[in-house]
């Protein structure tokens, strides 16, 4: 009985699962050239990150703008452990995840007192504070501003010669993030989180332990975001505070989730699959000649997306289907029904 919840699947779920499995496990072997393989790896990592953000931002409805903190901690922990102590990034990845989780617990006491836009402001402040403290700490530790990882391929170093291997790794990460989302959404915790998202006061009055369930979503989100940070560092092999702790990253993740469909299981992947190629094309076409031009377009898109498609492409799809269904049953153009 308790497991059947996770097994009942609609054709739509199956289609989503098939697409994800194809992109994560088959597409890397399709002999993509270097350029497309790079885009694929980026899509997969960002899709995983956006899915992780979606756990707290979409499922629980708490718009964090500070996820760069967890991303950066993941990237820095594994890189520092590898470069200075020779510890494998596989372990460093878990260490980063644990540190991010601890940070999430620590800040949860304050940030969970706030709702909506104040939660966003407070988490934004957390992300920025971590970046400033990291730069400040260079006064006491002999730490260069930017850190490169030497290219020594090997499984235990989590550095690979082939992009295919990276794509598989990133694909596995994405599948894990999506699986966590799927299980969470279908579990009681997921129902409680939806209740909290839709009306926190009503959920509280109904006896939902608000803080506990928000914290569960936040911890999962922080841990998975941190893992994504490690993967990105191992892929790019270069980190600096200005990029891994950037506000841009904290804005990108929600944007992908919103574009695809906030709170849905595959929405963040769809958002990443559209935005990453778009960004690559814009940078390529405009980045070299006019600095800033691609970000002007990017900002404009952000505005248009949230106003025209506040529930993302997934939401747009279901309202389209509703509209078509209504048209079919009423036998005429969709009409507003009187209240």
């Amino acid at each position: 009985m308790s497991f059947s919840r996770y097994l009942v699947t609609s054709p739509r779920d199956l289609a989503g699962a098939a697409i994800l499995l194809f992109v994560a496990l088959v597409l890397p072997f399709c002999g993509l050239d270097d350029y497309y393989a790079n885009v694929l790896v980026l899509i997969l990592i960002y899709a995983g990150l956006a899915s992780s953000w979606n756990l707290i931002g979409g499922v629980a409805g708490q718009f964090s703008l500070g996820h760069s903190a967890f991303f950066g901690i993941g990237a820095y922990t594994s890189t520092l452990l590898y470069n200075y102590a020779g510890i494998s990034p596989w372990l460093g990845m878990l260490a980063g995840g644990v540190i991010s989780t601890i940070l999430a617990v620590a800040i949860s006491y304050s940030v969970f007192r706030m709702r909506g836009v104040f939660f966003a402001m407070a988490t934004l402040a957390v992300g920025e504070t971590i970046r400033i403290l990291l730069i400040y700490s260079r006064k006491f530790f002999d730490l260069p501003y930017s850190i490169s990882i030497n290219f020594t391929p090997g499984l235990s170093n989590m550095i690979f010669e082939e992009r295919t291997t990276y794509a598989l790794l990133a694909g596995g990460y994405l599948l894990a993030c999506v699986a966590v989302t799927f299980v969470l959404v279908r579990s009681y915790a997921g129902f409680y989180l939806k209740a909290i998202r839709d009306n926190e006061d009503a959920a509280d009055a109904s006896g939902v332990p608000i803080r506990r369930y928000k914290l569960i979503a936040f911890l999962l989100s922080a841990f998975l975001t941190s893992i994504g940070g490690t993967l990105m560092a191992q892929y790019i092999l270069y980190i600096e505070p200005g990029t891994v702790f950037s506000v841009e990253l904290s804005v990108d993740l929600p944007l992908m989730a919103i574009l695809g469909g906030i709170g849905t299981v595959v929405g963040p992947f769809i958002g990443a699959a559209i935005l990453i190629p778009l960004r690559e094309i814009l940078v390529e076409q405009l980045g070299g000649t006019l600095s800033g031009a691609h970000l002007v377009i990017y900002g404009f898109l952000l505005i248009v997306i949230v106003i025209v498609l506040p529930h993302g492409l997934m939401g747009g799809l279901s309202s389209l289907r509703e509209w078509v269904g209504r048209k079919r049953t009423s036998g005429g153009p969709a009409r507003e029904t009187a209240p």
């Binding site: 304050s110 007192r113 706030m114 402001m121 407070a122 504070t129 919103i258 970000l295 952000l302 997306i305």
Partner: protein
């Protein structure tokens, strides 16, 4: 002792600057319950407006401020009519990301138009850069910005309390439904509030440009400082903005004296700490942080 006097003087002057920078944000938040994440970018545009006014026509931004206020009032009307009108009754998520998007757009448009160069103005004649009062060193530009801040804050308070439009704005800020029942058209009030808020932000930028560098991403520094001021002082409270500005100015100056690199971190630590302990701010009304238009 002298250090102490100097810290207090610098802190108060900086606090006035912060209060002025945050006023437009707080006004718009208080009335329309929208946190404008593009606030810093409007301030940046104000700084460039002050800069270009002086470099092209020779009009000192301190005297040209009324002109900039008029232009930015128009910008604010456009901001509401062209964008915020579509988001104002929508969920907060839409407002946050629409204004964030506008911020990214404006910042990079400025980068395209004016490059990433740091620009500032030399408005004071040589020898008038600073004055010395009882051993405390006071930069003249900061002093003038502070005077502007006090004058504008006073004018805004008088405007809101005495004029018909001002009281309509106050009414909508206190209770949208009742204001509507009294025959106030909230959409017109929102329009005027956005115009006013952006005009104040533009003037703030213009009078700051002689003492701060203008560059396309300067807004991200000021927007966070403004959030802190608004949260410190109380959401929607104009008097609170002054208090919030002064507290932030004094804390930042003191921390900056002992650990200059941590100056910026004080903003965030204050913001998180205060939101935790008193989400409604020092002078704000309890519960204001949970208010939305709906």
């Amino acid at each position: 002792m002298l250090v102490f006097v100097q810290l207090v003087v610098s802190g108060v002057l900086l606090g006035g600057v912060y209060a002025l920078a945050a006023l437009g944000l707080n006004l718009i938040f208080g009335v329309a319950k929208v946190v404008n994440f593009a606030h810093g970018e409007f301030l940046m545009l104000g700084m460039y407006a002050g800069f270009w006014l002086m470099t092209t026509t020779g009009i000192n931004p301190y005297f040209g401020a009324p002109l900039i206020a008029i232009v930015f009032f128009g910008v604010g009307l456009l901001f509401y009519a062209g964008l915020m009108r579509f988001t104002i009754y929508k969920p907060e998520l839409t407002q946050v990301f629409a204004t964030l998007g506008l911020g990214i757009l404006l910042q990079n448009a400025a980068l395209m138009a004016w490059s990433a160069d740091y620009r500032t103005l030399q408005v004071m004649p040589a020898g008038w850069d600073s004055i010395n009062v009882l051993g405390a060193f006071i930069p003249t530009n900061r002093l003038i910005a502070f005077a502007y801040s006090v004058a504008i804050l006073a004018a805004v308070i008088v405007f809101l309390r005495t004029t018909f439009i001002g009281r309509a704005i106050e009414a909508v800020s206190q209770d949208l439904m009742s204001a509507r029942l009294m025959g106030i058209d909230p959409n017109r009030v929102f329009l005027i509030t956005f115009g006013l808020g952006i005009a104040l932000t533009g003037v703030a930028g213009a009078v700051l440009v002689p003492s701060f560098y203008a560059f396309p991403s300067v807004g991200s520094f000021f927007v966070l400082a403004s959030f802190v001021v608004v949260v410190l002082g109380g959401l929607g409270s104009v008097v609170g903005t002054i208090a919030g500005g002064l507290v932030l100015g004094l804390v930042e100056t003191t921390v900056g004296y002992f650990a200059p690199d941590l100056k910026e971190a004080t903003h965030f630590v204050l913001l998180i700490g205060l939101l935790t302990v008193r989400p409604h701010g020092l002078l704000g009304i309890k519960g204001a942080e949970k208010e939305t238009l709906k």
